[in-house]
Symmetry: C3
Subunit: 109 residues, 3 copies
């Protein structure tokens, strides 16, 4: 048995929890901020059998990998709005920092 700690962006957290649940992998969310990723991240704790660690890592990778997204920029305040043509901007979103920890023992009461 292992304990996976995965720090992911808030926006990816619920999709990840659902994708893990589809594999019958239970997770608990801890609210966290800053550091490994931009503000607004979530740390998931996932208790998992040794032989399922690779599958869980795949699920995390598939749902949280860092990727580029085009977003519409905020239009400038004031100025002539009619002549302003917003140009989509590319930003990095997602990403996961994952620790796999050994466990001495595991209990459910």
């Amino acid at each position: 048995m292992k304990l996976i700690l995965a720090v992911v962006q808030d926006k990816d957290a619920n999709r990840l929890v659902d994708a893990l649940a589809e594999q019958n992998f239970q997770s608990t969310k801890l609210s966290s901020t800053g550091g490994f990723l931009r503000e607004g991240n979530t740390t998931l704790m996932i208790g998992i059998d040794d032989d399922h660690v690779d599958k869980a890592l795949d699920v995390i990778k598939n749902n949280c990998s860092q990727r580029e997204q085009m977003v519409a920029p905020i239009s400038p305040m004031g100025g002539n709005a009619d002549s302003y043509i917003p140009k989509p901007v590319k930003i990095e979103v997602g990403g996961a920092t994952v620790f796999v920890l050994p466990i001495d023992s595991f209990f459910q009461f």
Copy 2:
């Protein structure tokens, strides 16, 4: 020394912290949600000497085990309230998911 991570229901968390403190076991609460248990759970971190792990597990078991509780159901909206006899409903409460982790080293500054 070990680190115990115990995910318990919010309603059991304070009683558990007090019961641990009676044994001089210090704990820190992390707010957490979903997953191992129903919504509204708390993750306790407990740093503990190897020879006290079993005692701490007993305290967790005694204060957080899954158990049945009879609750009065909500009376139905509308309808004839006079003729409605609420029948207590049995629900599962509590439960604890516990990981005992090895520690390389421990410090207090």
Copy 3:
């Protein structure tokens, strides 16, 4: 690679995160309460190479050690405020409880 879990007082947390960042040590904050320290503490997760653990512990020690602080007491309600000479009071602040955990594997996606 190790995972450092450091429970520190809220008032020391941001200074610690900045001091760690100056050494290129990334950290994630988990909100936590009670237990090891007075109410209002923060748990930092720091993923770190084995050969940097000592440096990280130094940074924690230098920014979060328990220390004494003189604070102005609240002046008494009512009474003759003119004749009241507030005497600074010494209180303990800070402190850190630190666990260094082994890691089986580490990933960034």
